[in-house]
Amino acid sequence: MIIPPLLPCLGARFLVTSLLFMTSAALIAEKRSGPWGPSITALALVLALPVLVVIGFLFVPAGEVWGHLAATVLRDYVTNSLGLMLGVTIGTLIGGVGTAWLVSMCRFPGRGLFEWALLLPMAMPAYIIAYTYTGLLDFPGPVQTLLRGWFGWGFGDYWFPEIRSLEGAAIMLSLVLYPYVYLLARAAFLSQSLCVLEVSRTLGNGPWRTFFTVALPLARPAIAAGLSLALMETLADYGTVQYFGVATFTTGIFRTWFGLNNPAAAAQLSALLLGFVFLLIAMERLSRRRARYHDTSQRHQTIRRLPLRGWGAALALVFCLIPVALGFLVPAGQLAVWALTVADTSFDAAFWNLVLHSLGLAAVAALLALALALVMGYGRRLLPTRMVNSAVRIAGMGYAVPGTVIAVGVIIPFAWIENSLDAWMRARFGLSTGLWLSGTLIALLFAYLVRFLAVSLQTVESGLGKIKPAMDESARSMGMRPGEVLRRVHMPMLRGSLLTALLLVFVDVLKELPATLILRPFNFNTLAVRVYELAADERLADAAPAALAIVLAGLLPVILLSRSITQSRHAQST
């Protein structure tokens, strides 16, 4: 028995109840807001469906397996997940905020280059960087073999950091996730009104003090948004921790589901995982309390960057070089070396077909996610009721849920709806409607939206947050309807954020594996699927060309992204 037959009924009941509850609440809200409230709530609800299905499993009895988990492995899951989150927090904050401050506020050799190069690791999927570093740094790898050769050491004669460990996983994830923090922090630093910083400087604060007392607190919402993206991705990571043998919540979910054959307990673990995310969000909200962070001045002049010389410049350069080198140059170099060894057989027509599929899916998903994020982000600004707030919040939670769990959350309700309809049509008209969503690209795109909406939503909302409400009020007082305000006032001001949202989702979908693997139609493969299949068979060299293609395809949007931020800054300052 894999899914108790009881579950569809229970799940459906749970869904219908929450649906009724939320719509009725939305209808009450409608009196004040026109069509925005209910539409957003309904939309959020549809997107929350997979997560709700997972939560619905809480009502399915899981048997005595919890006793077993608590007695054996649960402690490891919790401590390792927390440890990983702590490590990634430290890593991404130092790497992301530090570099963002240096390239936006200081002048040193290579600054212009680093401005965009710091984004490069974003194109590198975490599981791929984990494979390459293991290949390089593990006991049998070239680095340790070389050391042994030089010094005549054998096994046990010397100490070398163990790459496949909790610390190693935290470093791998930090290396590819710090760009989220960097990106948002940099945008925040750049958009801070020069006046504020100048006032701080004229009050006698040095550059360091200005950074810690003015710039950093002002950039906090953006940094928090970036960090929460990084942490949610950390919680959802399966590939890296599984390969490194670190038992986290995510590996525990899979083990409980498939190894112990207990989907109810696995889904309950997923629900616990969501608890982590709630806690994260609540803590951030709580610490921010009622503070608001709008720009009050429209005077954005180009910042005069603090020139660094001598050791200062050298340190800044090294500080920026480390994440780029470790997060991109080294692993990409290793991939290129591997790819060369199999180049003669790899680049056939089928390969280009994969590239096409990956790019097409990523582009469509990114556009859809952007549209949804705009509607929902703006709707929440328009109507910050508790109902809309929580609906949007739940819809964005999919980011922290492992892709496989999301995919199952998509399969169950979709197939249930289709099969129910089919049964009804057969009984009523003797006509079979079959499956028209499951196994199509629509189901796959839906899963992408559920999984990655948080990315575009966070970006759009952090952009919207900087536009002071007075703008909305004056536009509305001039007779514009809400939709018009969004289109004619906000969207032009948000151009940078919109592009960021678009490109972030694009890169994320490009790298996405588990949902693609489960939901894709017949005879439809992507680059990530190809990498997985070969890597799962432990053929890393054969996997390298497709992995490299993912990285390269991700590069273009990353570079575009970086340019656009600089440009939007210039446009604003003139």
Partner: protein, 341 residues
């Protein structure tokens, strides 16, 4: 012609009923846990020989099984292919498979590698032998899986995580043979003998052993074969330092698993699906498994490749593989308790 167009096909079938049936394209739809590289070439040959088109989705067995279950009677899939017996058993238990009646399959495939009720058939064999570093271990020191818990191997064994189904199946086979209690004691002993916490895949264990981190590695035979014939020099050199030992030859035989296939309860293309299964059990296909992926043919009379033949004949465990599926959950709990990461 995709499965979503089935109704269209049905309509055109009705319209074209005057034409001979063979002129129309027929198809089989497969959910496969075998990667594309390890199944597509065979499917292409099948299509070339029979004209039956094959549509393929690959993925992880558990997820495909979940998809199959949710889609229920309307699922487009005709066959489910997995790389272990445990999942086939699980599919049968979940009620998403049906019995296949084929004299040819029954005659070709030994009973141990078929479901007693005919719900699934094995298509290739995967053995899990002990690999030893030639400079450090004499084959005479080795005997059985049970012996790996002996303190003489302290700090000398490499094996991957208990998350992996191959280890779960191995432990399930031990439980079937000697009971849960003895197996738990064995697992604790084995964990105490590990050279390092379990990490990486099977090839990683072989690489670590070759580099000197441990003296024994437990890995599936086809990974070892893949490394011996690899295009990468490092892989070939590493594997070259190790020898292969078939454990438990005095007793029940070496633990084996299968990759196999089951027909789904929703199968719309039964005849074509059976035809494909028969093809996959044919001489040509069976030889291909050995030549391309270093797996053993499920039919003992089919010759193996030179790499595999060099390891000598071995006696496989004759335990009906259904037991591996039944005992999988118990095996995982036992490994949790033993502290096998």
């Amino acid at each position: 012609m995709s499965p979503t167009h089935r109704s269209l096909i049905a309509a055109s079938l009705a319209a074209l009923s005057t034409l001979p049936l063979q002129a129309l394209a027929t198809e089989v739809n497969i959910y496969s846990a075998r990667g594309e590289e390890l199944i597509k070439p065979l499917l292409d040959r099948f299509t070339a020989e029979t004209g039956v088109r094959v549509n393929l989705v690959t993925g992880k067995a558990d997820a495909l099984l979940q998809r199959l279950q949710s889609e229920g009677v309307n699922s487009p899939a005709d066959l489910l292919i997995t790389t272990d017996a445990g999942r086939l058993y699980r599919a049968k238990e979940a009620g998403v498979t049906q019995a296949v009646t084929s004299e040819r399959l029954n005659a070709a495939i030994p009973a141990a590698y078929r479901d007693p009720d005919g719900h699934w058939v094995g298509l290739s064999l995967r053995a899990r032998p002990i690999l030893y570093v030639r400079d450090k271990v004499q084959p005479a020191e080795l005997s059985s899986y049970e012996d790996l818990a002996d303190p003489k191997w302290k700090g000398r064994i490499c094996i991957r995580s208990s998350d992996n189904v191959y280890n779960q199946s191995l432990v399930a086979s031990l439980i079937a043979n000697q009971g849960a209690e003895a197996t738990e004691a064995w697992a604790k002993g084995l964990v105490g003998n590990l050279a390092r916490p379990p990490k990486g895949g099977d090839r990683d264990q072989i690489l670590a052993a070759a580099a000197g981190q441990c003296d024994l590695a437990i890995a599936n035979s086809y990974y070892f074969a893949g490394m011996l014939t690899s295009a990468e020099t490092e892989q070939r050199e590493a594997a070259g330092k190790l020898g292969l030992f078939w454990p438990n030859q005095e007793g029940r035989g070496t633990h084996v698993n299968i990759s196999g296939a089951a027909m789904t309860i929703s199968a719309h293309n039964k005849d074509e699906a059976v035809k494909l299964l028969e093809y996959l059990a044919s001489d040509a296909a069976q030889t291909w498994y050995a030549e391309t992926n270093g797996e053993f043919p499920v039919r003992p009379e089919v010759p193996v490749s030179a790499t595999l033949a060099a390891w000598g004949e071995f006696k496989p465990d004759s335990l009906n593989l259904e037991r591996l599926g039944e005992l999988n959950g118990e095996a995982v709990r036992l490994m949790d308790r033993a502290g096998w990461k």
